[in-house]
């Protein structure tokens, strides 16, 4: 009877959330035996439920299956990568060859490029400027004469071609 009173007190403490783990274990132990007190019987069901739940376990094969899966994944990973790369291999080889040729060309281009032209000295035009009006007149006259000769050549050629066209027209009529 005394024991039951102590258990009821402990139960109240338990439902208030004030029990320690040791006290909760002693409640579990008490309720694992036969209970005569009808007021305590509903709590036996509760503590039996806890005990029942503590026994639940995953299936034995679960851990084994996990490690099997893990090793299979590890083993198949390089094979999967290889299978993915296989169709790309010819293209990768071609790309590598093109890259090699381009880099070779670039190397040759940069190695054998002619030296950059050095800066040309500025022309001193003042040396060529006419010093007297007579000299300026002479230079201008020579330049105009040269231009006139070229113009005359063009005119005579045009007259010749017009004459040729006229003859061709006569033949056609």
């Amino acid at each position: 009877m005394n024991n039951n009173a102590a258990i009821r007190e402990l139960l109240d403490k338990y439902f208030e959330g004030d029990t320690s783990l040791e006290e909760e274990n002693s409640l579990r132990e008490f309720f694992s035996g036969d209970i005569a007190d009808p007021a305590l019987k509903p709590y036996k069901a509760l503590f039996s439920f806890f005990q029942n739940e503590q026994r639940l376990q995953p299936s034995e094969r679960l851990e084994e299956q996990f490690f099997e899966q893990l090793f299979q994944e590890d083993a198949s990973e390089p094979k999967q990568r290889e299978a993915l790369l296989r169709p790309l291999r010819p293209w990768l080889m071609r790309a590598a060859m093109v890259a090699f040729l381009l880099s070779g060309c670039w190397w040759i281009y940069t190695r054998y490029q002619p030296p950059a032209p050095t800066e040309t000295a500025a022309i001193d035009w003042s040396k060529y400027e006419p010093e007297t009006p007579e000299e300026a007149f002479r230079i201008t006259r020579e330049a105009l004469g040269k231009a006139s000769r070229h113009l005359n050549e063009g005119t005579s050629k045009a007259i010749e071609e017009m004459a040729l066209l006229g003859e061709m027209g006569k033949v056609l009529h």
Partner: protein, 167 residues
């Protein structure tokens, strides 16, 4: 992390992780699937796992988060514990056995009706026997909240027990 150290450090916690997964999913097959997925998650953490101070609390936390996500991503449906969950009765008399299994189911349902936080706190304390500090770490919940939730959970279950008039 080598498979050997994974086996030695994580696998001793498998029953605890499974029961938590079962509490959240309510279905043994789903709980096992979730557990496999959690192990893969943990395995992928590699050597970081060895730097974790309280590995047990960490595993419980990862399991809880994974299972909650899994349940929330599922189509809404009435969650019922499947009959595949083994029930052990405390009486060998066949007539009483069925009755006691019904009682266990009633209690499971009573706990199952509690809000998620209350259920988890009660599970970790009353079934797994964790200390308040371990529950605090596993559920990322302040200790005061752990105590309040445990108090509420036990009170609600007690009320339901007395209402059903269990003998």
């Amino acid at each position: 992390m080598s498979p050997e150290s994974f086996k030695h450090q994580i696998m001793p916690l498998k029953d605890r992780m499974y029961r938590l997964a079962l509490r959240i999913t309510g279905n043994p097959a789903e709980a096992e699937d979730a557990l496999q997925e959690v192990w893969i998650k943990l395995w992928k953490q590699g050597d970081h796992l060895l730097q974790i101070q309280n590995l047990e609390a960490w595993c419980v936390r990862v399991t809880k988060n994974h299972c909650i996500d899994k349940v929330r991503n599922k189509k809404p449906e009435v969650r019922e514990w499947t009959e595949a969950v083994e029930t052990v009765s405390w009486d060998q008399n066949p007539e009483r056995k069925a009755e006691q299994q019904d009682t266990l189911r009633l209690i499971r349902d009573a706990i199952g009706r509690l809000p998620e936080k209350l259920q988890l706190v009660m599970h970790l304390r009353d079934i797994e026997g964790l200390t308040y500090q371990e529950i605090e770490e596993a559920l990322e919940m302040p200790m005061s909240q752990v105590k309040v939730n445990l108090f509420r959970a036990r009170q609600q279950v007690r009320a339901q027990l007395l209402n059903t008039g269990l003998q």
